[in-house]
Symmetry: C2
Subunit: 549 residues, 2 copies
């Protein structure tokens, strides 16, 4: 019997761009296809996606792309990856609703095969059979995936929490126990909250926390949360209903979710309760609850604009209560705190942070992770979804519930487990990052990024000269033009003196009949760079363009 190969192309040792593969002989099952947001130093990059060279090289083997849920870090790379390698997609109803709207933006809907699945679906291939179990997470239609292989089951949890009092469907505990009842080869389980002790707060408690704040508020309420957290939105609608407030929605993705959500029956709003944002002034302040985007302080989102007074319809009134029903993702703390500050300045009362029960994570804490391990009882364990220390912490939890250290594999993207019931060996597949900038996939790499960093830090000086190379004569120039370097006004002397220095150097070079252009450029650099550094303490990029006339 052959071995099962299991590897991640993204999501191991990082938060984001989740993509995992299970391969048996001539069949590959792909799970998720997410994006990651660029790090600070990735100047100008919009998105980061997994390198899928391995899938391109083995596209004849791919049976399908199976989606655990509809968050960006699990579906965001689909348009870009489908352009490189076509795969039929399988996912829950809301998940595919979100994928479709994404493919529409890229005008690719017609090219991609999409198959709805639910907890009862079973998709059988030659060697492998895929089935699903419902979990709870901060978006509806979240599934764990079970792949039966000739070597036993491979179980992937997706993102999950074990919420005993969820809003919407319950986690299928019985089905998970049944899966765990025998022959689970490998469990891949979500490590996002492995560092948190205890249990994650139930989504139901958040509903109570929000109702509490809504009940006490006197003026308008403006609530920001993640647009995809449909259950949260429903709870906000319920709280508003209980307090006789109308709901108005702002922010593109929030409006979209309210449309899709109502259409698919995920959000229930009583007739007449949803009003147009332009009509809010027809109601008294205590009749209004505005739901908006911007809980992460995103520069262009609704709450951010409202906070800075630049939103076209909503301004802050002194009696407004703003609820931020979200935690800032680490890279966003500064932006979120800036938004809160502006809201305070505008006179609002801002409810945020962990003091009130207005937000709960969608990821299970350590006790839930142990429970999952106890349900599934795998032979081998791979912690997924998380930075290295989270994977490592998850590995420790697994040891606590009795999994032997030698059967726990903290892996990196591109590391490939080859597993049979008897043994495991490790190999490699190609893996890496591909940067998306504008419409380009992978045409920005290290050199471009290095140049952008240089330009960002010190700007540039362009030196242009036209030369008659036959007679070794400088015809025009050198002209020095700078951008992002110094105020031109006040720096005339600096630029003039630099020009004189470059000109002298050029004339010397002409006298010496220097013919080689890179030699000429080097000589200009040699005189210009130290002069600029001495005068300003900066190292702008120097770009010399020689023209032969």
């Amino acid at each position: 019997m052959s071995e099962v190969k299991i590897f991640g192309l993204g999501g191991l040792g990082e938060i984001g761009k989740n993509m995992y593969c299970v391969e048996y002989e001539d069949e590959i099952i792909v799970i998720d296809c997410g994006v990651k947001f660029p790090e600070n130093e990735m100047f100008g990059i919009d998105l980061v996606i997994p390198d899928v060279s391995y899938l391109i090289d083995n596209k004849h083997k791919i049976k399908g792309l199976f989606l655990t849920h509809g968050h960006e870090d699990h579906i965001g790379a689909i348009p870009f990856v489908q352009k490189q390698v076509k795969m039929p997609i399988y996912g829950g109803r809301l998940t595919l609703g979100l994928v479709k709207s994404k493919l529409e933006e890229h005008r690719m809907v017609a090219e991609v095969e999409m198959n709805f699945v639910n907890e009862d679906s079973v998709i059988a291939f030659n060697h492998m059979t895929v089935s699903f179990f419902r979990t709870n997470h901060s978006i509806p239609d979240s599934y764990g995936i079970c792949i039966e292989t000739p070597q036993g089951k491979v179980v992937h949890t997706g993102d999950f929490k074990l919420d005993m009092t969820p809003v919407g469907h319950s986690t299928e505990f019985a089905k998970m126990a049944k899966i765990g009842n025998g022959d689970v080869l490998v469990l891949l389980s979500d490590s996002t909250n492995s560092e948190r002790p205890g249990f994650t707060m139930s989504e139901r408690s958040v509903g109570e926390g929000i109702l509490d704040v809504v009940t006490k508020a006197r003026g308008r309420i403006i609530l920001a949360t993640f647009a995809s957290n449909v259950h949260r939105l429903q709870q906000v609608v319920d709280a508003a209903k209980a307090q006789n407030r109308k709901i108005a929605v702002i922010g593109r993705s929030m409006e979209k979710v309210f449309l899709i959500g109502q259409e698919l029956g995920y959000i229930q709003i009583p007739e007449g309760m949803l009003i147009d944002i332009k009509t809010i002034d027809n109601y008294s302040d205590n009749q209004i609850l505005i739901i908006c985007t911007g809980s992460q302080g995103e520069p262009m989102a609704a709450l951010t604009r409202i906070a800075s007074g630049s939103h076209r319809t909503v301004q802050i009134y002194p009696d407004d209560t703003v609820i931020i029903s979200a935690s800032p993702i680490p890279g966003n703390t500064v932006n979120v705190s800036r938004t809160i500050d502006k809201l305070y300045r505008a006179g609002a009362n801002v409810i945020h942070g962990s003091v009130f029960d207005i937000h709960a994570s969608g990821h299970g804490s350590s006790e839930e992770l142990k429970l999952m391990l106890s349900f599934i009882r795998p032979r081998y364990f791979i912690p997924i979804h998380g930075e290295y220390r989270m994977l490592k912490t998850h590995a420790k939890l697994a040891m606590q519930v009795g999994i032997e250290p030698k059967n726990i594999f903290v892996m990196d993207n591109g590391e490939c487990m080859r597993a049979t019931r008897e043994s495991v060996t490790m190999g490699k597949v190609p893996a890496g990052v591909v940067l998306i900038d504008g419409s380009g996939i992978g045409d920005v790499g290290n050199i471009v990024l290095r140049d952008r960093k240089h330009l960002a830090e010190d700007g540039l000086i362009v030196v242009v000269v036209s030369i008659d190379m036959k007679n070794f004569k400088v015809l025009t120039g050198p002209d020095l033009v700078s951008r992002g370097f110094v105020y031109v006004r006040g720096s005339e002397t600096l630029i003039q003196e630099a020009t004189v220095l470059v000109k002298q150097k050029l004339l010397e070079a002409m006298d010496k009949k220097v013919k080689d252009w890179s030699e000429l450029k080097a000589q200009i650099n040699e005189v210009l760079k130290p002069y600029i550094f001495e005068k300003t303490g900066r190292n702008p990029m120097i770009l010399t363009i020689l023209m032969e006339v």
Copy 2:
């Protein structure tokens, strides 16, 4: 009797660049002169300092710059400000030690008058008299300042916590009570931790927490903290001593503090306990404790280098315990968590965060702030040191202890309180930010930053053409050169096609005898920009240089 003017040039509505002024007739007392670290969008900026135009215009009135303590956000702008306006400096022993070393780097020690003060110092001017009271903070020699004016006392707390069991000197509670015993016109008090309930943990408890971790560790210990937290360093030394470990120090600022600290008697190390980092391999692992910089994940600091395996003497061994005795400042969370991740990958056990008592804030929480208000009992209250919401929260605390809302002033930089015992009116003084880049003070402003941002995001294309304007002939070019835009390899066609488009446009313009250079540039832009955007989804800066030959 004249009114007392009180205003901030930095530190109100922000964390950092603290600078406050108290003015009576022809006398100005300046308190602190700090820097702020640039925000993310301030590409290439090293530091942000207050705009001191008001002080330059009124330099004849300035009696002195009084320093509350030696942190960068209170002393960091001194060299830059002294270049603009000379002021005699008054400060505690360690504070001036740090100022001196700063001035040495700028080769300015000889130009600046420095006067040591302590809790007994009284500096009398014509109208105003300055005295001091000891407080506790995360650096020794922290003082509150009391200025007696003809309108009553103006009290400035500096940064403080009310630590009942400090390491080093105690807060002078009795003196504070005496100051508050009558005629305090205004209190300016630290708001950094106004949002935290209760009391801040004592520095003494941190010592116990660190000793606990040190006692349990088996291999080497590497501890990172703020170099200026001299009391913390002493406690680390004490813990190492208790466990018979030698101390080695790495990181430039840490080495400097150990030198100054021992010299001034702030750090006591038994003979032979401090060893050279190069000799650590002569000892067994459980005899070593390394103290280093990098607790904020700063890219060039010792711990960051150690974590990435690029430090020249220290590598991580699997049994190492790394203690990060600090909280990440909001903008640094991502860098700190990256460092922790790398340390885990290298095999270290990392102790960080709030689970262990290994760090305490240097700022008092809300109960301490109320206590300060109760001690000083001011007529008017100005919360200082903090973002707007912290000042606002501090204002609420003041109301709780009985200060009337009309006597509380949440101010911005540049707002000027004119106070007498009877009344307050508000005015304005010039205030703002000055950006430091390299050796330039204020020569980088909005235009330069906007260009840097543009270059950072999409790079640039330089278009160079030489033209014979008499005969309307293009002589050479157009040449298109790009940086930070796309990989040159693979983009040849793009650049070639763009060149053809620009050339056509130029030839047309020559035919039409277009003479105006900005018109020519605009026409090139008109054809190049949409083409590039259509092909790449990007908007690089287009810099056209026309040369007349």
